[in-house]
């Protein structure tokens, strides 16, 4: 899952677990592990020894108010959007979109699929993330991450010099207050704390297992504690979405449901772009050339649906570059070449 809407939700699950019997009784327990166990309706080891494991928790309620604020930015003309690229969801289900040609960060109203608020960013904004009361923007010209106030859009500061040569995507884990920045030029992901302090790097350039050949975008699964990196691949590696744990351990990859043999791979990704993981453990991947949103189950990595495609009727995507799924299951995709945001209501193909 991408951005902030799922992390706080998982945290709420933990709080609920505490309230109904202390299942996750160890406050020092790894957040990701506990969430995973709860999601699987299993009892943490500590609680099992005590015999205190309660009945399975009820279905999670809607996400409570979180520390991440709903952006409130200056108004903009609805025709200002030119090349919507990376996006981030907001607590109230809107989208923040980085538009490099317009040079702006735009807030998109999901009802009209048009920008209603935004601000001019420094340099060329490639990517955007929302964390706490700040908007983080990957600035391709400045080669840094610029930080803006989520309320008003005022510039605060920058960080990441030397780690953001081409900050193609940013995702945020709101529960852990971590930012993951993909530098597509250095072919590496760098993890930052909210204040810009570097934590670690993930992966390295290359065509081998767990390496990044031509990475372009990121997705986040805070429940599993995983980072998903879309990669064009190269002569040695087909296009894929590579999966890493937060600590950088390579977990696996999604090949786009292609079939591979000694002659090569057939039917996989073409130009995989933006990635999103929803609470239902589904992975959504946009493909620029196929003009689709491909849907996979995270558990099996099997493809379960394809949304869009060329000549398939409305809504038609033109080089989709990112995807966001709201709580209602509506799938939104930024369509870079048509300069629009399109929606598949309820995720229907």
């Amino acid at each position: 899952m991408k951005r902030d809407s799922y992390g706080p939700w998982a945290f709420f699950i933990l709080l609920t677990a505490f309230a109904i019997g202390g299942c996750a009784d160890d406050r020092e327990r790894d957040y990701v592990t506990d969430s995973t166990l709860l999601a699987k309706n299993e009892c943490p080891p500590g609680a099992a020894k005590k015999g205190e494991c309660p009945e399975p928790p009820p279905p999670p309620p809607p996400p409570p108010p979180t520390g991440t604020v709903e952006p409130d930015l200056p108004g903009v003309s609805t025709d200002v959007m030119r090349t919507p690229m990376r996006s981030a969801g907001t607590p109230e289900g809107r989208m923040l979109v980085a538009d490099p040609k317009a040079g702006m960060i735009l807030r998109v109203d999901p009802s009209y699929l048009l920008p209603d608020q935004g601000f001019e960013a420094l340099g060329k904004p490639l990517s955007v993330a929302l964390l706490g009361d700040a908007i983080f923007v990957g600035n391709a010209d400045g080669r840094v991450i610029d930080v803006y106030d989520a309320i008003g859009g005022g510039y605060r500061t920058s960080f990441g010099a030397g780690r953001a040569e081409r900050p193609a995507d940013i995702v945020a884990d709101t529960g852990l207050a971590l930012l993951f920045v993909l530098d597509s030029k250095m072919k590496q992901v760098t993890v930052f704390e909210e204040n810009g302090t570097m934590v670690r790097t993930i992966s390295a350039p290359g065509s081998g297992t767990g390496q990044l050949a031509s990475p372009v975008a990121l997705g986040l699964d805070p429940v599993r504690g995983e980072l998903l990196v879309s990669d064009y691949g190269d002569a040695q590696a087909s296009a894929s979405v590579k999966i890493f744990s937060y600590d950088g351990t390579y977990v696996g990859f999604i090949d786009g449901a292609g079939t591979c043999n000694f002659m090569g791979c057939v039917g996989g990704f073409s130009r995989p772009q933006g990635v999103f993981v929803n609470p239902a453990d589904q992975v959504f991947v946009t493909d620029g050339l196929l003009a689709t949103v491909e849907v996979f189950t995270r558990a099996t990595l099997a493809k379960v649906a394809t949304l869009g495609g060329r000549n398939t009727g409305f809504p038609e995507l033109r080089f989709p570059t990112d995807v966001f799924v709201n709580d209602a299951g509506d799938v939104f995709a930024t369509s870079y070449q048509s300069g629009t945001v399109e929606v598949f209501p309820g995720g229907a193909p």
Binding site: T83, S214, V266, L289, R318, Y336
Partner: protein, 613 residues
């Protein structure tokens, strides 16, 4: 000569050698021209879902999957990282009725290495054009010979072969060939659909464009709009279009007029070079709300324009019919300070008078149009002291405020007309700025130094003291030796402000009384000699004749050395001069009966600022 030839024949002669390598070029590899793509970059060689490109992707989608912000890197074009825009921006729009795609100019044939050509950027040797058939294209350099449109008689430049209706560089050379041999994409880049704005305003207007002069270099002048260095740009030609568009409306670009945009209401006017047209336009930014629609700062430097219009409507200059364009020239830049006119004439070192007092004197002289002639009085020889008040040997005092270089070079002092005057607001009712030294926190006419001045409403004396209070205004300097007395302190603490009670020997008929506090102007003038009553230039700008308290009556000097009344006047040239000594006494004795002191010599040996006037 026409470059028509036969496409198929040429293809056959090229001996295509498309590389069958795999993988995307690295950024370093892509810096080298010409670059031939590897098959894998676009094709899955073994049946991938996008092998048949026409079924799964348009050519520009495929190109843009790498050559855009959405790709892994901005693959350079000609060594310059150049993301290409989405379809609607590529070489169509206002100049082409139908979309033009990447493949119309770049294709596989362009990757083939020919015997005589090895064009850059996948440009084929033979291009089938919309209106002129197959044309030979030579594109082996980005500038000079064989570049975009090199100006030779072949007309085989990649920018020429299709054009049949452009105003420059047509396929047959029938019209002009501006910027021949230049890199066309510096102005007509992919990002702007090759429409000429792509290189930015600065890209074109760095050189002459038709009847338009090159203006970008004017932003390097001594004064200019847009502080590009402050904005973080390396040079003036990096000024973004948005800065230019703060003033220039582009809706009818190349329409033959300069269209200036009002920053407050976005209204547009055609500027025809008449200075009077500019006032409303300039005032739109130089008012209380700055560049209103732009939120205060019109340019990327973030600077808020100085507000010069609050009192302009009631100013003397406006009253004379002056407008912005009478004093300020080009909006882009001037070789003098403050965009002063004429912009193309620099002031002369070391005095730089043309941008300082000389600029003011050009109007404030004997032939106007200003009514006050300051040029003449400042042109008088400077009287310097050799023995100043109190018997101190100070040679850096003279008869004026040191606005001229000749005075400054001797005294080390520095002051300019604008230290005291604001040309945008000074008016007969308020002929000087109210707070000449904001740095000291004292605001003239507000927190009064001397209560008696406050009671009398003597703002002018407070104005003098704002600088003569021991704290000089920014942009001014004290004398190199024998610095200014802190008149404020001396005046209050030592001099008693001239109000010493009893024994002053005040003469009848002067109007002055014991206990009166003297205004500065009773004894001094701001400019030398403009009292003009008797055309004398006295040290310390001392009035040439004292007047009664109400200013209505000249007060005669009582006696000369021999006890004889001679005239109203006194010429105070130097305390070391016998005449000067005598005349100093004459001045004092205009009001004070001190005939008994006549033989005591110069009054100022004992009485001066700081020594009990």
């Amino acid at each position: 000569m026409s470059a028509r030839t036969t496409y198929r024949t040429a293809i056959a002669s090229m001996g295509m050698t498309v590389a069958l390598g795999l993988g995307f070029p690295s950024e370093a590899e892509a810096q080298v021209e010409p670059k031939h793509h590897e098959c894998h970059a676009c094709h899955d060689l073994h049946g991938g879902g996008y092998a048949a490109l026409t079924a799964y992707a348009t050519s520009e989608d495929l190109c843009l999957s790498c050559h855009s912000e959405a790709g892994p890197v901005d693959y350079p074009i000609g060594g310059i990282p150049t993301p290409i825009p989405r379809q609607t921006g590529i070489h169509d729009g206002s100049k082409h009725s139908s979309p033009t795609t990447c493949w119309n100019c770049h294709d596989h044939e362009g990757e083939a290495r020919g015997a005589t050509h090895d064009n850059f950027a996948l440009i084929p040797k033979i291009r089938t054009t919309p209106n002129t058939g197959d044309m030979l294209v030579e594109f082996t350099a980005r500038t000079g010979t064989s570049s975009f449109a090199d100006g030779d008689a072949m007309y085989d430049g990649v920018c020429e072969v299709c054009h049949t209706a452009t105003s420059e560089h047509r396929y047959d050379g029938s019209v002009g060939g501006h910027q021949a041999g230049s890199d066309c994409t510096q102005c007509h880049d992919h990002d702007g659909g090759f429409q000429g704005a792509g290189g930015g305003c600065a890209g074109c207007h760095s050189s002459t464009q038709g009847s338009r002069r090159a203006v970008v270099s004017e932003f390097d002048r001594k004064s200019h709009h847009v502080d590009w260095a402050l904005a973080g740009y390396a040079a003036a030609d990096s000024i973004p279009d948005s800065d230019c568009e703060s003033c220039h409306d582009q809706a009818q670009h190349q329409g033959g007029t300069v269209r200036l945009k009002n920053a407050d209401d976005a209204s547009v006017m055609d500027y025809t070079g008449v200075p009077g047209q500019l006032e409303t336009f300039c005032a739109a930014c130089h008012d209380a709300d700055g560049a209103g629609l732009a939120g205060g700062a019109p340019f990327s430097d973030g600077l808020t324009p100085p507000n010069v219009t609050d009192n302009w409507a009631s100013s003397s200059h406006e009253g004379m019919g002056a407008t912005c364009g009478d004093c300020h020239d080009e909006g882009h830049g001037s070789l003098k300070v403050s965009l002063l006119a004429p912009a193309t004439v620099a002031s002369t070192a070391p005095a730089y008078a043309e941008e300082q007092e000389g600029f003011c004197f050009s109007c404030h002289d004997s032939d106007g149009p200003a009514t006050s002639d300051l040029a003449t009085v400042f042109a008088r020889p400077i009287n310097w002291t050799t023995l100043a008040a109190g018997g101190n040997s100070v040679t850096t005092y003279n008869d004026r405020h040191d606005v001229q270089h000749d005075a400054q070079a001797v005294s080390g002092a520095l002051i300019e007309c604008t230290s005291c005057h604001n040309p945008h607001s000074d008016a007969p009712a308020q002929p000087y700025i109210l707070d000449p030294d904001p740095s000291d926190g004292h605001v003239v006419g507000t927190d009064w130094y001397i209560s008696e001045y406050q009671a009398a409403g003597d703002v002018q004396s407070e104005f003098c003291l704002d600088c003569h209070d021991g704290s000089l205004a920014t942009g001014t300097a004290d004398h190199a030796t024998g610095g200014l007395v802190n008149v404020l302190t001396a005046w209050i603490n030592q001099d008693g402000m001239g109000q010493q009670a009893g024994g002053a020997g005040l003469l009848a008929g002067t109007g002055w009384a014991s206990g009166d506090v003297l205004a500065c102007s009773v004894c001094h003038l701001p400019h030398p000699n403009v009292d003009q009553d008797f055309d004398l230039t006295n040290l310390f700008s001392i009035v040439d004749t004292t007047k009664s308290k109400d200013g209505s009556t000249y007060l005669p000097s009582v006696l000369d050395r021999k006890g004889t009344q001679t005239s109203f006047t006194y010429s105070i040239t130097d305390d070391s001069d016998g005449t000067g000594v005598q005349n100093g006494g004459r001045m004092c004795m205009s009001c004070h009966d001190r005939t008994g002191m006549i033989t005591k010599g110069d009054c100022w040996n004992c009485h001066y600022h700081g020594s009990r006037f």
